[in-house]
């Protein structure tokens, strides 16, 4: 090959050996190298030189910790150490779906329990009302009006059967930690518990009915107080209403 044609290529060999030749020139040189033995020999020398340049830097030891780090990445170390939990997208999506299902189920259970509680309360309310209606039809049943601090209602008293039915409007709703407790009031001021009730927030009135084991005619009145959930042995909380027989 004439020297004139050869020159541009041979001049680019040092830069090519260093990896610094621009792409277009590099491509042209590579084509030339396929057919030019002398340029290939020249490149061999410059390539050895460029490799020499990599080694021509005074050695510097890395910190000892690097060897340990590297060792920890080898298979024997990986077998000994527990594998970190790595989830694929599918596993992550599955876990998310299971999580959502668990939450939905928990919500459904909560909702069902709430409905059951509501149903039990409504059923109790219905029974109270039926008892009260039955009482009304009996002769000798006393009907007493309630009108205390904005709370109105009716108290039905059947002394023959020791039955009591209380209807009250606008009773303030209570938190779960509190309950209403009904007391019979004796002539000496003693109190006997008749029972507990909790107003249903969805209804505007509350009814409470009971057939007492006590002889009602021995008592002079009835009172309702707010007590801790579960009731008290004697009145401790705010008195809500009192009805004299």
């Amino acid at each position: 090959m004439p020297l004139k044609e050869h020159t541009p290529f041979i001049e680019n060999i040092p830069a090519y050996a260093l990896g610094s030749l621009d792409a277009e020139d590099a491509s042209a040189l590579e084509n030339h190298l396929k057919t030019c033995n002398s340029c290939r020999s020249e490149l061999t020398v410059y390539r050895a030189m460029s490799e020499g340049l990599l080694a021509a830097i005074p050695p510097k030891s890395p910190p000892a910790s690097l060897r340990r780090q590297l060792q920890s990445k080898l298979p024997s170390a990986r077998r000994l150490s527990p594998q970190p939990l790595r989830w694929s997208w599918n596993q992550f999506a599955l876990a998310f779906a299971v999580g959502v299902l668990v939450l939905l189920n928990a919500f459904s259970v909560f909702q069902m329990q709430s409905l059951q509680r509501q149903q039990a309360q409504l059923s109790y309310q219905l029974q109270s009302e039926q008892t009260a209606l039955a009482l009304l039809s009996y002769p000798g049943v006393k009907t007493l009006a309630i009108n205390t601090d904005g709370i109105t209602g009716t108290l039905l008293l059947d002394e023959d059967r020791n039955a009591v039915a209380l209807f009250a409007w606008n009773l303030p709703p209570l938190p779960d930690s509190r309950t209403y407790q009904v007391w019979l009031i004796g002539a000496q001021g003693e109190r006997v518990s008749l029972g507990l009730f909790h107003p249903e927030p969805s209804l505007p009135f509350t009814s409470f009915s009971i057939i007492s084991s006590e002889n009602i005619s021995n008592f002079v009145g009835l009172g309702v107080t707010v007590e801790p959930s579960g009731g008290s042995s004697h009145p401790t909380g705010t008195r809500l209403l009192t009805v004299n027989f």
């Binding site: 040092p14 050996a17 030749l21 050895a48 490799e51 340049l53 030891s61």
Partner: protein
């Protein structure tokens, strides 16, 4: 087989042919999954690899990561090393240079090196039966680089240790492309005179 970690301080003595034979044997054992052989190669060459990555990256933390990546590549790609094509150390240093330059390019948001710069690709395309260098030549080359003029040293530094193309050097230094080409060629020719001596 028992391996003794080499203790390096400053320049390491590279024992030429005997060392190459042992390197080839160790590399072959690494391909079989021999961790002791791998650590023996680490003990032998980590200071060389680390010096190069530190020179290129100029950041101890990044240099350590690049050194580690280089040896992990050796662990995973030892089967690609062909002893008949040349010594192990230059092959390993070529990998280290590429790893470090890729990190540098990532940091600078420049495109990574093309596969054409991959040491394995290079070896496949241009057979090289005479890359056996020795410690004396490398040391001479080191001093030859030190004796270059500031402009020539700078252009070698940017081309080889920073991985810039001639056009990028021209842009970086504000020199005409022709000047970059001339200075790079002149610097390499000067180094070659020392190399051939």
């Amino acid at each position: 087989m028992k391996y003794t970690p080499a203790q390096f301080s400053g320049w390491v003595e590279y024992n030429g042919y005997m060392s190459d034979l042992e390197d080839a044997k160790l590399a072959a054992q690494v391909t079989q999954g021999d961790e002791k052989a791998f650590l023996a190669l680490y003990d032998r060459y980590s200071s060389r690899v680390h010096a190069l990555t530190l020179r290129i990256l100029n950041d101890p933390m990044m240099a350590e990561e690049a050194t580690q990546d280089t040896f992990l590549k050796l662990w995973n790609r030892a089967h690609l090393y062909l002893a008949e094509r040349g010594s192990l150390l230059p092959w390993l240093l070529t990998i280290a240079r590429r790893v470090a330059l890729d990190r540098l390019r990532l940091e600078a948001r420049r495109p990574l090196l093309s596969d054409a710069d991959d040491p394995d690709e290079k070896w496949q395309s241009i057979p090289d039966g005479n890359t056996l260098s020795d410690e004396h030549r490398w040391r001479s080359l080191h001093f030859a680089v030190q004796s270059l003029s500031a402009e020539h040293r700078q252009v070698i530094e940017l081309a080889y240790y920073q991985g810039l193309s001639q056009s990028e050097i021209s842009e970086t230094l504000g020199w005409p492309l022709g000047t970059v080409k001339t200075r790079l060629r002149a610097a390499m020719q000067q180094l070659r005179r020392e190399w051939d001596r």
